[in-house]
């Protein structure tokens, strides 16, 4: 299917009538905030970009149609994490229908239950569970309808393969479609416990099913936001500031307006709350770009902006809003009394999110008479945007134009990578402003350079650790002091706590000024904090002459840590040794981690030649509780490791005067196929434990594991990322 002229941008289920009127079929409705802890609900509303609030009304989660097919609805979006497949598996299993019978509609604000956004590995943990509850509610209702029709008690019936049948007499059966044909049924998910399948009853959950949306990804049929093309579409070339914070002072577009294909040049001055917007609108992308290049724009740039070299000092000098995330005993006294103390300062620069698909948005306004609205009703706005936060973007649009959210529809097509960065999506409002000005649908799309320059970055951080051990080599004191760039304090706090038993602990995390805009990136600060902590632990073990796996075993209490550490070491074939004892160009390293409630351990083997670190092998063991889609989890862990190798070895944003100096793939080197180690991933989770996220597990410990292996290989203790920049050339193994 080509996207050209496809009115609905390929969004699955887009032919569904809005509003959820069911003609026949069984619809299951429920609350949208199920399972989300109260403390999180409160923070949702106090953090800057969480501007959307849960809908108080019941929402439709699931429909069993008269043709026997099942439609599931969720406000999450698919950007590669395989959430569509996981949801389909959960619904298919719980409802006892073939996987192929389930269609999942995601991220279309007219069709799906309200959702805060797709981040923090909340999809399977909360929404997947809610869909299972919806499916179990439907199964219960189908059993009751069938009991009536078959004149048997429901307890004598069972569900399998989309049918309800008499136990022991499959000839007496009714298909789900037959059961729900006729008058519509509506069920509500009960507030309390729902009778969910137990681990021994799963037939789809936990099995190897691949991706339900794989074929479109190899045929070109999958439609991403950049692929949404509407009849009458205008292409925009937006004038972007030449440096951070630059403001448009004046504009002369007379030459541009005379060029072929140019429909108009929009220049909206800044008004309260809304920044200025200037763009050329043309019949083709190239006409718009050419015309934009001859627009004479005068920008007022911010004077004297800091450069990348200033960042460590800024982090040190401007640290504030310190939060103690963990405290026990008296760290200062513990350090003073320790037999041996250690000290290290770790620096992690800004890195770019760099998803493969630079952001794009298409907006269309329609008058009421085109949408069948009542006379006098106002126009409606539809925006296609590859955002991780469709409901938040809907709120932004409604607020910007002063219209009700009900008049705004945000449709999220496939997303070409997000990793947290696409929560922020100013292109949606831009496209809508331009479409309103032009009276035609408008497409705005960023170039690769723009995607980098006008994005958010993973915050730089400076972390100092002081530790002390007693005469027996046991950890006696741990003091972790971190300063993360930016005002979003939650980023830096994540993953800062130490899992190692010690009588005296103090972990303090501060915010600091940030010369670059910062935002979410896979695991927030957890990968950053873990790098410092796990690298520092390696320094302790090397100095003590203790095997780093053994030292961790002695200091970890939580059995889930032990399971992943033991399994990773076993799969890797870890030989107990002291790190860095014989630097010969080859080395091994280990690190453990936790994020979003899931556990991970990595063992890595590296070879160092000259200034190049080759990561040859990674053994990962992870525990995310009940694993719904094992291959999906393995894919996520492998991907997190690969992506993490970039920030570990080569990636760092260079900037000066508010300009990113390495915005393209030429100078911002991300991992390529020849950087791929052998990776094996073991899943050791307990299926009776509730599912937690798997998206962050690969990236969280990888930098430390590799840094520790580099020390083992070379004797060089590198406390700054990316490692290859700091590495002194060494002769090969």
């Amino acid at each position: 299917m080509s996207a050209a002229g496809d009115e609905e941008g390929g969004a699955a289920g887009a032919t569904e009538p809005a509003g959820g009127l069911e003609v026949g079929g069984l619809a299951v409705w429920g609350d949208v905030t199920f399972g989300i802890p109260d403390r999180l609900r409160a923070s949702y509303r106090t953090t800057t970009y969480f501007n959307t609030t849960p809908d108080e009304q019941m929402q439709r989660w699931l429909v069993v149609r008269p043709d026997g097919r099942v439609a599931a609805f969720a406000g999450k979006v698919e950007y590669g994490q395989g959430v569509r497949s996981g949801f389909a598996m959960e619904v298919a299993d719980e409802l006892r229908v073939p996987l192929e019978a389930v269609e999942v509609t995601l991220g279309d604000t007219d069709l799906v239950p309200w959702d805060l956004g797709t981040f923090g590995s909340g999809s399977t943990a909360y929404v997947g569970l809610q869909l299972r509850r919806a499916a179990a509610t439907a199964r219960r209702a189908l059993l009751d309808i069938a009991a009536d029709r078959l004149d048997l008690p429901a307890s004598d019936l069972e569900c399998a393969d989309g049918r309800v049948m008499a136990a022991g007499d499959p000839a007496r059966s009714l298909g789900y479609g037959e059961l729900v044909a006729g008058a519509p049924h509506r069920e509500e998910i009960p507030d309390g416990d729902v009778d969910l399948l137990g681990p021994g009853e799963f037939t789809v959950i936990g099995s190897e099913r691949g991706r339900v949306d794989a074929i479109g990804r190899v045929t070109g049929g999958a439609v991403y936001s950049r692929d949404v093309l509407l009849p009458g579409l205008l292409y925009a070339a937006v004038l972007r500031p030449p440096s951070l914070g630059a403001e448009l002072r004046s504009l002369d577009a007379s030459a541009a307006e005379r060029l072929p294909g140019v429909v108009r040049v929009v220049h909206e001055a800044a008004v309260e709350g809304h920044s200025a917007l200037a763009a050329v609108l043309a019949e083709s992308d190239e006409q718009a770009e050419l015309a934009a290049s001859v627009v004479q724009a005068e920008w007022e740039e911010r004077p004297a902006q800091p450069s990348r070299w200033d960042v460590p000092q800024i982090l040190l000098d401007s640290a504030r809003d310190t939060m103690v995330t963990q405290e026990a005993g008296d760290a200062g006294a513990g350090l003073a009394a320790a037999a041996t103390t250690f000290e290290g300062t770790y620096y992690i620069p800004y890195i770019s999110i760099a998803p493969m698909e630079p952001r794009a948005a298409v907006a269309r306004w329609e008058a009421a008479h085109l949408t069948g609205g009542a006379a006098g009703e106002q126009e409606r706005l539809t925006v296609w945007a590859g955002t991780q936060r469709p409901f938040g973007i809907r709120a932004e649009l409604a607020e910007h134009f002063g219209i009700a959210e009900a008049r705004v529809r945000v449709i999220v097509p496939e997303i070409g990578g997000g990793f947290g960065g696409k929560s922020i999506y100013p292109l949606a409002v831009e496209a809508a402003r331009l479409a309103r000005a032009a009276g035609r649908p408008v497409r705005v799309a960023l170039s690769r350079v723009e995607e980098t320059q006008h994005s958010t970055f993973r915050p730089a951080a400076l972390i100092s650790i002081r530790s002390g051990v007693d005469a027996e080599g046991r950890l006696a004191a741990w003091e972790f002091t971190a300063s993360h760039a930016g005002e979003r304090a939650l980023i830096g706090r994540r993953g800062s706590e130490s899992p190692y038993t010690a009588p005296h602990v103090r972990v303090a995390v501060s915010s600091a000024d940030s010369p670059l805009p910062v935002g979410s990136y896979r695991s927030l600060g957890a990968a950053v904090n873990h790098f410092a902590r796990e690298a520092h632990v390696d320094e302790i073990t090397a100095a003590l002459g203790v095997d780093p796996v053994e030292w961790r075993r002695r200091h970890l209490e939580d059995p889930r840590y032990h399971h992943v550490l033991d399994e990773a070491a076993r799969r890797f074939g870890w030989q107990p040794a002291v790190s860095g004892a014989r630097p010969d160009g080859r080395g091994v390293g280990v690190a453990v981690g936790i994020d979003v409630g899931s556990y991970v351990a990595l063992c890595v083997a590296v070879e160092v030649q000259g200034q190049e670190v080759r990561v040859e092998r990674v053994s990962a063991a992870i525990d995310c509780g009940l694993t719904v889609n094992p291959d999906g989890v393995v894919n996520q862990v492998e991907g997190g490791i690969m992506q993490g190798l970039g920030g570990t070895l080569t990636e760092a944003i260079e900037f000066e005067g508010g300009v990113v100096l390495n915005p393209g793939f030429a100078r911002y080197r991300v991992p390529r196929i020849h950087n791929t180690p052998r990776i094996d991933v073991s899943i050791v989770g307990d299926p009776t434990v509730r599912s937690t996220g798997a998206g962050e597990l690969g990236i969280v410990p990888i930098a430390a594991a590799v840094a520790n292996a580099v020390y083992d290989a070379t004797g060089q203790r590198i406390r700054e990322l990316p490692l290859q920049r700091q590495l002194q050339p060494v002769a090969g193994a």
């Binding site: 080509s2 996207a3 050209a4 698919e78 950007y79 590669g80 994490q81 395989g82 691949g210 991706r211 794989a214 074929i215 479109g216 990804r217 190899v218 045929t219 070109g220 049929g221 999958a222 439609v223 991403y224 950049r226 692929d227 292409y235 083709s284 992308d285 190239e286 998803p355 493969m356 698909e357 630079p358 496939e414 997303i415 070409g416 990578g417 799309a445 690769r448 291959d631 894919n635 996520q636 492998e638 991907g639 997190g640 490791i641 690969m642 992506q643 393209g664 793939f665 030429a666 991992p671 390529r672 196929i673 020849h674 950087n675 791929t676 180690p677 052998r678 990776i679 094996d680 690969g698």
Partner: protein, 164 residues
Amino acid sequence: MPTLRVNGEQREAPLAARGLLSYLRFDLGLTGTKYGCGEGLCGACTVLVDGQPLRACMTSVGAVAGGDVTTVEGLAPGAQSLEELHPVQRVFVEETAMQCGYCIPGFVMSTVALLQREPHPSREQVQEALGEHVCRCGTYVRILRAVERASEPAGEPARGGGAS
């Protein structure tokens, strides 16, 4: 007006200077070929021109005039099921060699070209052919496995297993 064949169909392009990527995506609606960087550095826009892989973002319609262009949509037109896919597309599905999938059409096209040239490539040949493609989700382990599977002599069982 330059003429060219696109997925077997004769086309007349209005402008020789039109970028090939924009022409394919916006004029013909063949949006399976992706924009990733605009500098020929990520491979997402790879198409075949007379069987050779080419970065569509770095060339114009005029430069490929008279040529035979194949996009990802042209490998197995209309395919809806695993069985109908081109063998290279099929192994990518079978190995779930994808996450977001945005880069995958480019990897598929370069793999098709590689296997036409060298049906049983070495690991080094695969890495060279795909070395200038970026998958930011990091599915390289699976892509390597898929290419390995596609290049196995017919009748031999898939090896599966690690990425080595």
